[in-house]
Symmetry: C2
Subunit: 322 residues, 2 copies
Amino acid sequence: MVEPVVVVHGGAWAVPEELWDESLQGVKAAARRGYGASIHCYCGVLTAGGSSVDAAEASVVCLEDNPVFDAGTGSVLTFDEQVEMDAIIIDGTTMEAGAVGAIRNVLNPVKVARLVMEKTDHIMLVGDGANKFAAAHGVQEVDPEVLITSLARQTLAKYKKYTSTVYHLFNKTEKPETSGHETVGCVVVDREGHTSCATSTGGITAKMPGRVGDTPIVGAGGFADDQVGAVSTTGHGEAIMKACLARHITSVMGTGESVKSSIQNGLAHMESRIKGFGGAIAVSCKGEVGTHFSTPRMTWAYIQAGKLHYGIHPNQHVTEDL
Amino acid sequence: MVEPVVVVHGGAWAVPEELWDESLQGVKAAARRGYGASIHCYCGVLTAGGSSVDAAEASVVCLEDNPVFDAGTGSVLTFDEQVEMDAIIIDGTTMEAGAVGAIRNVLNPVKVARLVMEKTDHIMLVGDGANKFAAAHGVQEVDPEVLITSLARQTLAKYKKYTSTVYHLFNKTEKPETSGHETVGCVVVDREGHTSCATSTGGITAKMPGRVGDTPIVGAGGFADDQVGAVSTTGHGEAIMKACLARHITSVMGTGESVKSSIQNGLAHMESRIKGFGGAIAVSCKGEVGTHFSTPRMTWAYIQAGKLHYGIHPNQHVTEDL
């Protein structure tokens, strides 16, 4: 028997002070949501459902629905002022995975990712194909305006005002100071040691249409294997893709390193080899939790053994009774 | 100084007898094309260009243009009878990468992948966004009919005749016997130990619109890092994605294992954990070459030190003078 745990993150980046409180409340609520979904299973209240995958999905849906995060509602805008979202979910027991890239007009990309996992032979569907698949499975199409916040519009406007648009649209750019990341994610292990992960994002402000980042990539935005554990990452997507960050972290975990030092190892490699920064949450199949980030801040929270843990600043770790 | 080498593959699958000769001629020609492109650099004939990335691109363009392979011209068809292609290219020196997913109507997806690598901040562009980017960079749009061979049409017709179409479009399917893979790829190391990889595919017959497989995923379809070496994979895409096969193989290479046994390790893990089959080619930054496959056959060829090596059956290794 493993002490079950639900760990969530709300993105690794600078996180300006005006968003601290709302972001922390958001990750705490999402951890409760996922843990609550799990409890049904642990207590045997539900005979069907209530798996670690259900918990991961429930937490990420909660984060997608919260407009403070760059996922689902609140997603940042592409250069042409659209919302295009990426998401992944992985069942560590079977290593089955589902993902969507550059999907539009749906409230919860992670739900579509789960449909891809469960209803197709494929792992990843992108663009119009992903939207058509979602529609065929009864996922409601929403007006894109529903997903767009005033903060997302302001951030894109600021980006366009201070950057040379033509150059930045199709050429290499300096990273604009306004392009924060509030990608969200969750990792879970249940009492039987079954692990899962889910990650969801709107990507980066002013990204080119059709850009897919690390989030929906197995081994980059997430990884789960019951033989080791589960990881969800956040940060500079292209660096995370090059580093195969989630796979790197689980590989180190597999050598017997602690979960936290495995994350530190992965982030250190990404910084030294690729000059990239980010963060990750992870859980081992034994229920050991780790969170770490090389960015100024990352919001995270987890629930285990009746306690709620959370933090946003480096070395901050607050514990509350549930 | 490293003894430079160009290694190519033409896909790991059953490869029916009527395609053996054409496939072998194709990989031999592609190895020559890439090596020739490299020679310009090694001899100092060209002062610009001629990098390992140029060699990898040149080989894969040669394979994309050959209708016997499932990449570029000759790509298999989606369930709705379209060609949607995936490709990646990685420069192991910087670990910069470029990729396209579900791109249509271009002759050489690998060239667009290289443009993504060199002209954007991103790694992956998919669907319409990838096509718009290609057009903005002067890549000619072609009539999709140009890419479609009679073999591709026959293979899809056979699939549809023997499978329940509605069920298979949006539900889990048995792998049809007709869905072979002739994904193509190349790995290169030059005299300075600079590595690169490139992989390109039309995917699998009757795939759902928008399906992206392993090929354009860093760490799945390819990986390159001058500190270790370069890998290009082929086989069942979804299994390769779950296994992060290319990253797995380079990780094992990084421990000091031989290139061949690193590939064998990766394929054995994929078979035991995920029940997946495939093949890979790899080269270390020291110029050591390896090829291996767990499918019935894989066409491969390489050129090193004035010799052309090639094979298609297990344990077959033919050597010719250049």
